[in-house]
């Protein structure tokens, strides 16, 4: 069940990605509507993070391409924001929560320019939106996991983008924060922004998202939540990998080079 739409905000065409000689995403082909709250579901190692990393140009695709706002990524970087996994950075870095959020304003500044008062105000606003204003001066290693996550989301808000990719924003976050964040995302989508979230809980996914992408190394489903959250598709997503894909992966691993790369 893969539903394609007209004038998509994100279009992924035949995307195939491998890490070294290990194919992790097979031929993903999807399109997403603007202004929706999208969840990416799938088991561990299904390629959820890889999909958004490939769209953001952080990992190289072996084949296929993706388009945002019907354009190349480089032309629309100002309109796109990415929230990496919390574990991907070292939180011992000597910086305060405000410092981190200010980083969200950097791309508007360009080379050599320093962030000033305006940027600071914006950053404080964004911290306020995630209820972290009181922690602005706190060193980031002294924040809890959930607070660190909220700092990351505040940084994304400071980018003032149209399209947000968030890699596991609810990891290590308590229930009330999760609800508050979802509320925030809803407000954003109500303003016409698109928020795409990597998520791992099937039960809450049905309540949270308008649109679901289900991945299991290949695309199992992409469509409105009500239509794709079915027993059959869930079994396909979580019921083990396709053995043929796994075997093909093994062959590629053994070949000494990656035959999928041109």
């Amino acid at each position: 069940m893969i539903q394609h739409i007209e004038n998509p905000v994100v279009e992924v065409h035949d995307l195939m990605v491998s890490y070294g000689q290990n194919p992790v995403l097979w031929n993903v082909d999807l399109s997403l509507p603007a202004g929706s709250l999208v969840g990416i579901l799938g088991p561990n190692g299904a390629g959820k993070s890889t999909l958004i990393k490939a769209i953001m140009g952080l990992v190289e695709a072996n084949s296929g391409y993706s388009k945002l706002f019907d354009q190349e990524l480089n032309q629309v970087r100002n309109k796109v924001s990415y929230v990496p996994q919390r574990e991907s950075v070292d939180w011992d870095f000597p910086a305060s929560a405000l410092d981190i959020v200010m980083m969200g304003t950097y791309h508007h500044l360009g080379l050599l320019k320093r962030p000033g008062k305006k940027e600071k105000e914006l950053a404080m606003d964004c911290l306020d939106k995630v209820n972290m204003k009181n922690f602005a001066g706190r060193q980031i290693s002294e924040l809890s996991g959930g607070q660190q996550q909220r700092v990351f989301i505040a940084r994304a808000l400071a980018q003032q983008a149209e399209l947000y990719f968030m890699d596991e924003p609810f990891a290590g976050v308590d229930m009330s924060t999760e609800k508050a964040l979802i509320e925030l995302f809803r407000e954003m989508t109500a303003e016409g922004k698109t928020v795409i979230v990597v998520h791992h809980d099937i039960y809450s996914a049905g309540k949270y998202f308008d649109w679901l992408i289900m991945l299991n190394m290949h695309l199992v489903a992409s469509g409105p939540t009500a239509e794709v959250l079915t027993e059959e598709l869930l079994t396909k997503t979580y019921g083990g990998k396709l053995s043929t894909l796994a075997d093909l992966g093994e062959i590629i691993k053994k070949s000494g080079f990656n035959p999928l790369k041109d």
């Binding site: 870095f93 000597p94 980083m103 791309h107 980018q159």
Partner: protein
């Protein structure tokens, strides 16, 4: 023990070198590339020897460019071995710097008669001779100690680099993935930093030698890291430590009648280990463990 003009020149030169190294080293440390810094400082040696051979002097542009290039080549070589040859990263670093350093030592031995560079200089530099090594213009005017001029240029460039690209360095060090998504060239920042580190190593080579540069690159930032919570303070404390190390190092060397560069590293060591001892329970993992232990005892 006295504070005369020579002492002042040596301490001043030492401080400037220590500050330049510390400012760049802070980013190396935060990027978990301290050992790459160690590798670069060893690896520039063949570049120094060859540039020396070509230009016939230890100063000047040839030296800086030649040896600086070798530093960049070493960085590229480490990256190539890790990514293309698929060697584990610690071994890539180890192989690259030991082989380049070995080549450097062999060249020095071969050319011992042709160039005024000996193994001792490689090991611990000759900062004590800074006041005697004067820059004399063609007209015969004495402009002052040569190495001190080099250190000034180095310091100006290091401060300029760090302050101009502060934002970029900070972002790409903390979160390279995010930096890439906003279109920042993380590879560019990386090579810029490595280039500056190579240049600084070369420029400081004569004063403190190839190996003790590492002490100035890594130890002051590591010490400052234990005390500070934001990047600007980290850099400030690193710079202050640089001056202290140079000052105390000079007098320690004076007292023991030993190498000044070695004494600077030793003083840095004292600061480092005192800081570690005082801050040894600062990480949450240890904090909670200590708390649990106390509770169990109670």
């Amino acid at each position: 023990m006295s504070f005369d003009q020579n002492a002042f020149i040596i301490i001043l030169t030492g401080s400037m070198i220590a500050i330049s190294c510390g400012l760049l080293g802070a980013f190396l440390m935060l990027r978990k590339m301290a050992m790459t810094g160690d590798a670069i400082s060893h690896a520039v040696l063949p570049g120094i020897v060859i540039a020396f051979l070509i230009s016939g002097s230890r100063h000047g542009l040839t030296m800086v460019i030649g040896a600086g290039l070798v530093g960049l080549i070493a960085t590229a070589c480490i990256e190539y071995l890790t990514q293309k040859v698929k060697l584990q990263s610690d071994a890539s670093i180890g192989i690259t710097f030991t082989s380049l350093f070995a080549i450097g030592i062999i060249l020095i031995t071969f050319l011992a008669n042709q160039i005024d560079l000996d193994q001792d200089c490689v090991l611990y530099g000759e900062i004590a001779y800074v006041p005697i090594d004067l820059w004399i213009t063609k007209a015969g005017t004495i402009m002052g100690p040569r190495t001190t001029y080099l250190a000034v240029i180095n310091l100006v460039l290091a401060i300029a680099f760090v302050s101009l690209f502060y934002k970029e360095l900070k972002l790409s060090t903390f979160d390279p993935e995010f930096a890439a998504t906003i279109g920042l060239s993380t590879a560019g920042v990386n090579y810029g930093l490595m280039g500056m580190v190579s240049y600084t190593t070369v420029s400081s080579f004569e004063a403190v030698g190839a190996i003790l540069v590492v002490a100035l690159l890594v130890v002051p930032p590591a010490t400052a890291f234990l005390w500070t919570k934001n990047l600007k303070k980290l850099l400030t404390v690193t710079a202050i430590l640089g001056v202290l190390i140079s000052f105390l190092g000079y007098y320690l060397a004076y007292l023991l009648n030993s190498s000044i560069a070695g004494a600077m590293a030793s003083v840095a060591g004292v600061f480092f280990f005192v800081s570690v001892t005082l801050n040894r329970h600062q990480i949450p993992r240890i904090k909670s463990k200590m708390r649990r232990l106390r509770e169990e005892m109670a």
